[in-house]
């Protein structure tokens, strides 16, 4: 019986020490991305000098750090094989710093050049907070010479 008591005390004491010594005050909550434009299956106009209308809201429980937009072709399902004609696959990869808990973003900085290959693309938006928590979302978009269906 003594031994049992000894063991229980040892056990409880060990956990007490561990749990006290290791306070978890650190942030493991991911930021939230609310992508408003472009939306799923939106058509983006090739060669539009005004740029794509990009609108999103980023939020985090602590502090935002950065977001990144990555656009790449999705021509054959997801095989990423190249087109063979004179046009060039459009690829976009750029990040911007953001801060605070909420960051509404609206810009026209993503421009699709005239020689971009039309077709299906993936548009991915990544966001990190200061602690390194990361979120991302992906939407399918179509690049076309026709006017896009999104508003300016």
């Amino acid at each position: 019986m003594k031994r049992k008591i000894f063991f229980s005390i040892y056990f409880v004491a060990m956990f007490a020490i561990v749990l006290n010594g290791c306070k978890e005050d650190s942030d493991t909550t991911r930021p939230v991305i609310n992508l408003i434009e472009p939306a799923e299956d939106d058509v983006l106009q090739i060669g539009n000098s005004n740029g794509i209308h990009f609108e999103a809201e980023f939020s985090d429980d602590e502090a935002l750090a950065s977001y990144k937009v990555d656009i790449h072709p999705d021509f054959d399902g997801h095989t990423h094989t190249r087109s063979s004609d004179e046009t060039v696959d459009f690829e976009f990869n750029q990040s911007w710093p953001i801060s605070g808990r909420n960051a509404p973003i609206h810009h026209h900085e993503i421009k699709i050049p005239e020689n971009a290959t039309p077709g299906d693309y993936h548009l991915m938006v990544y966001c990190t907070d200061v602690a390194g928590n990361e979120s991302y979302i992906a939407v399918d978009v179509v690049l076309s010479h026709e006017a896009g269906n999104h508003h300016e």
Binding site: E24, K68, E134
Partner: protein
């Protein structure tokens, strides 16, 4: 301390009359006992022989929990978890440590595959496993680098006593993925010789999940027919064992080959795309992406035993060849379609040669000493149109000394030290397509320079001391108390030193750090075992402190590689792991036993003030075992897994679950039949440690399993 140095008794296994012996053949005492008593004694002998927490999976346990997958079977032991890759394959975790932090050893030789990879299972034939001893906690003293979390030792049963032909036919069926499996074993014992061969095969289709859709990255993905597309696979294993035993000399030769091929759910590779999830009308085909792996292993052991000395020498050669296939895809416009095997994305071929020498002798009445010398050499070569892990050569050698002092039956004190020396030589790798890609995009020269080297050439040397000191107190016939302190280490792996790329499965940019130091840990554990008629209670708390635990740290830096978020870099941190296992077995009536087992692991990254990734949630199993007739056993079990809210950055919280399992086994003179229902209520739940957890895919649904084993023998 090693199990094979234990003086062990013979065992009479039903029907077979197989003999269970230790390597110290000449010190054996022949006993003929009832099956259950012997099992208990063997367990007791293990309990009392090592200061570490050990778990024994004997033939009874392995039969009762047989699933065709060794890791999932061992997952029924407290403290051991299976990290599943779908329904077919899995890798083990002990007390929250997995991957390269635990060792699996078969016939005394450490299994070397691609343990670091999250989607790589263990390449061992489950049908061919007859006895397993699991050492929980630091075992670097015996096994060197990697054994920080524990060791799973797969041990063969000894040769039969009498001259005979014998064999076994085993059949396995599972409903969840329509598995059909079978195994044939044949053995012959002729005087000094014993030869045994086995062939096993398992085929399975796409597995069923209790859900119609899964939501991944805000995309709803339909699961046609509730079957997870392209998760079918098969496994084909063959082995041959030959032994020669003449007075004090024993020689063993074993060759085995394990082949596995399994498809990956296409939705788990890259951006979810509903078009790739459409039912192809065939639930048993293996389409791309898939992986295949072949593990060839040849081992020999030579042992000389005299009155006061045992010399044993184990030699092993293994080749693990793994390939991942996925339709050719590239983000770099200049990368051409490879002329040969255009869809081979990654291939790793790891060859390992190893040698272990042990000399054991007694001095005086109370002391026993062991000296050992281990050498291991590894070479990894790569192929495929993608890059993840570089080519490397690794050499390690270590010497150990272990002494055991046993002044009486009550007290055993054991301690030992070991020194290991290792070199790691990693080849550089430059990606010309990536370089062009970055130049075309006008990245500044330093960025191009830093990224075109997918792997830097690295030449490192390591020297590490490990050791342990432990005490076992047999307080009475019923109580055993243990305490152990150990220091263990692990050399950084090639992936941790030099990987650099986006893995299609992990889907993030993982980067090695060539300057990483070895991982070191101090581990303290205790054990309490109480056993008497009708009751067995064990409790084994542990506490581990790592001064340099290597983990993937999110850096907050955006990767320049296409299709990647931030860079995750292997970094060292101070870390704490603590917890306990507890098991109770209580005979309520003569034919009714209650079994309870539970475990908890607390993990903490001291530098980041967060838990560690892959922390196993607390779990508990409550079971009622009913033996109404001799040879008939019915088991009803409730498995409770707690919610895991303690997560590392960029990990998902996982809800808990209650699962009900039922099984019935019949032991007849000519056959063992077992029928079981796993997840009887078809509960949709997630396994925090599963490869498919990240993509929000629930675990397999209800699974009815039927296993039949028919042993036979022919004596003359």
């Amino acid at each position: 301390m090693h199990i094979r140095y234990l003086p062990v008794m013979l065992i009479v296994v039903p029907v077979f009359c197989l003999q269970m012996q230790a390597q110290e053949a000449d010190t054996l005492k022949t006993l003929t006992l009832d099956e259950f008593v012997v099992t208990g004694s063997y367990r007791k002998s293990i309990d009392g022989s090592t200061s570490q927490a050990v778990g024994l999976a004997d033939k009874t346990f392995l039969t009762e929990h047989f699933t065709g997958n060794l890791v999932q079977t061992l997952g029924h032991m407290a403290g051991i978890r299976s990290m599943d890759i779908g329904a077919g394959f899995a890798k083990p975790m002990i007390r929250g440590l997995g991957f390269n932090r635990i060792v699996v050893a078969e016939n005394g030789v450490k299994q070397e595959g691609q343990q670091w990879g999250a989607d790589h299972g263990l390449e061992i034939d489950a049908f061919n496993v007859e006895r397993v001893v699991v050492r929980k906690g630091p075992s670097s003293l015996l096994y060197g680098s990697d054994a920080m979390g524990g060791v799973i030792e797969i041990l063969p049963l000894p040769a039969p006593l009498q001259n005979q032909w014998y064999g076994e036919v085993a059949l396995l069926g599972k409903s969840v993925n329509e598995t059909l499996g079978g195994s044939l074993m044949l053995g012959v014992k002729r005087n000094a010789w014993h030869v045994k061969t086995r062939f096993s095969e398992q085929h399975f289709g796409d597995y069923r999940i209790p859900a119609d859709t899964v939501v991944y990255l805000t995309q709803q993905m339909p699961i046609d027919g509730r079957k997870l597309k392209n998760t079918a696979g098969f496994e084909r294993d063959a082995s041959l064992l030959a032994e020669y035993q003449q007075s004090g000399y024993h020689a063993g030769y074993a060759v085995s080959n394990a082949f596995q091929k399994v498809g990956f759910f296409p939705g788990a590779h890259g951006v979810p795309d509903v078009s790739r999830l459409q039912d192809d009308g065939d639930s048993r085909n293996i389409d791309m992406p898939f992986s295949k792996v072949n593990h060839l292993k040849a081992t020999t052991s030579q042992q000389l035993t005299s009155d006061d000395r045992v010399i044993r020498w184990d030699l092993g050669f293994q080749q693990n060849h793994r390939e991942e296939w996925s339709l050719f895809h590239t983000h770099y416009a200049t990368q051409p379609l490879p002329a040969k095997d255009p869809d081979k994305e990654l291939a790793f071929s790891l060859s390992t040669a190893s040698s272990a020498l042990r000399v054991e002798w007694s001095s005086g009445e109370f002391w026993k000493h062991t000296a050992g010398w281990d050498v291991q050499y590894q070479r990894n070569s790569i192929a495929g149109y993608s890059f993840l892990l570089p080519e490397y050569k690794r050499f390690t050698t270590g010497g150990l000394w272990l002494s055991v002092f046993r002044p009486n039956h009550q007290l055993t004190v054991s301690g030992g030290v070991r020194y290991d020396f290792g070199t790691m030589n990693i080849s550089g790798y430059q990606d010309i397509y990536l370089e062009k890609y970055l130049r075309e995009r006008n990245y500044p020269e330093p960025v191009v320079e830093a990224n075109k080297w997918r792997s830097y050439p690295i030449d490192r040397r390591f020297g590490d001391v490990s050791g342990s000191l432990g005490v076992v107190l047999r307080m009475s016939d019923f109580y055993v108390m243990k305490a152990n302190i150990g220091r263990s280490f692990r050399l950084p792996g090639a992936n941790e030193l030099a990987s650099n790329g986006v893995h299609h499965g992990a889907f993030r940019h993982e980067q090695g750090d060539g300057s990483l130091r070895s991982e070191h840990g101090w581990q303290l554990d205790a054990g309490f075992i109480f056993e008497r008629e009708g009751i067995r209670l064990t409790c084994s708390p542990f506490f581990s402190w790592f001064e340099n635990y290597i983990y993937l740290r999110p850096t907050g830096e955006w990767s320049v590689l296409p299709h990647a978020g931030q860079v995750y870099r292997y970094s060292g941190a101070e870390a704490v792991f603590a917890g306990s296992e507890a098991e109770l077995s209580l005979a309520l009536l003569r034919c009714l036993t209650y079994r309870l087992s539970g475990e908890y692991v607390y993990t903490h990254n001291v530098d980041e003030h967060t838990p560690m990734a892959f922390s196993p949630p607390a779990s508990m199993r409550n079971a009622l075992v009913f033996n109404p007739l001799k040879g008939l056993q019915l088991v009803a079990e409730m498995q409770t897994v707690a919610t895991q809210n303690r997560i590392a950055r960029n990990e998902e919280r996982t809800r808990g679950a209650n699962l009900v399992h039922l099984s019935a086994s019949v032991h007849l003179p000519y056959a063992d039949v077992r029928l079981s229902a796993h997840n009887l209520l078809n509960t949709a739940y997630f396994n925090h440690l599963s490869f498919y957890r990240r993509v929000e895919i629930p675990e397999p649904g209800r699974d009815i399993q039927l296993s039949i084993k028919i042993p036979f023998e022919l004596r003359n």
